[in-house]
Symmetry: C2
Subunit: 199 residues, 2 copies
């Protein structure tokens, strides 16, 4: 090894490269990001970056996988059996929006970059499917007298869609997580509006 | 002109090429689509296709622009002043999901392909912004006693997000437009669930 190269453990170096890559991808988008800039940000050489990750596509895939996993791990605390299903749903919304607020770069990469790129869409969709399943279960367990045709799966599709749209505004700093949690919880149980005109 | 080339008016030929392109992009995705296949589908030569549209990127942009405009035009019938705001909102949801059900290729191109590609995201976002603005206005006019902190814009963000998620399931044939209209209308006014356990 040439003098001056820090001999960090491989695992530490890998995480540093991913940190840098997530930052740069979130700032510039996939297409506008070059391996040069990521190498600079990670303070390593470009050949080293290629040695570890092979190509920009592979590095991006590694970012999505790590961020998707962190996102999924954030939800493991949700399934607390001591909470009523309705409280669990509120908790799930809080965890979701809290994660987005604290990990804006993750969100930008996962949601704004990876969605729409055929190759990575599968990974995003499988995270989304887990959220929908979780939400459908909580909705079903919170409903005392379900209608015969009540489709909890499709309700959850709608609610997760609303959640993603609002989360994107949280990531953009347009709205606070607390406000967004209240909005989504109210959407789930009471609809957007209180009383309607003419009621 | 060589014998055998049909001398169609330019505008007709352009629309035929776009029809073919929208079909192929929706079936294969942007990256997997080649100009060869589009030329074959449109029954013209590849040089002719390049002559008209320059590149695959430009052809895709033309597709998004045309489909986005058709989508926007579908909404011009919504602003009927004889209808109550609440009925206008239902009408808007019907028009939205009806368009998606009848124009699945449009939807696939606009929503699944164009989203996430930085270059085209602006066009998708501006269509979405128009929908959000329309929805926010209808929600506001339908609410008799708004709360002081009621944020109709963010409510509309949530509802349009839910609408896009459900529309994608309509396009995929998982749910009928009628069912989806009822679900979204109910979401807007009453929330997903009727009675909650313990109420």
């Amino acid at each position: 090894m040439a003098g001056g190269t820090k001999r960090l453990p491989r695992a530490v170096r890998e995480q540093q490269m991913l940190d840098a890559a997530v930052e740069v991808f979130s700032e510039r988008g996939f297409h506008e990001t070059s391996m040069d800039v990521i190498a600079q940000r990670a303070e390593i050489s470009k050949p080293m970056l290629y040695l570890y990750y092979g190509s920009k596509d592979e590095l991006f895939a590694a970012c999505i996988q790590r961020e998707g996993q962190r996102f999924a791990e954030a939800f493991t605390i949700v399934g607390d059996p001591h909470l009523a299903p309705r409280e669990q749903l509120r908790k799930a919304i809080e965890v979701f929006l809290g994660f987005v607020a604290e990990n804006r770069s993750s969100w930008m990469v996962l949601y704004r970059q990876a969605v729409g790129q055929q190759v990575f869409m599968g990974q995003v969709q499988s995270t989304r499917d887990r959220l929908i399943e979780l939400t459908a279960g909580l909705l079903e367990h919170s409903t005392r007298e379900p209608m015969p045709d009540q489709d909890f799966h499709m309700m959850a599709v709608a609610l997760v869609g609303a959640g993603e749209a609002v989360a994107d505004r949280v990531a953009g700093g347009e709205v606070t997580p607390d406000f967004a949690v209240d909005l989504l919880e109210s959407l789930a149980w009471r609809g957007l509006s209180g009383k309607k005109k003419g009621e």
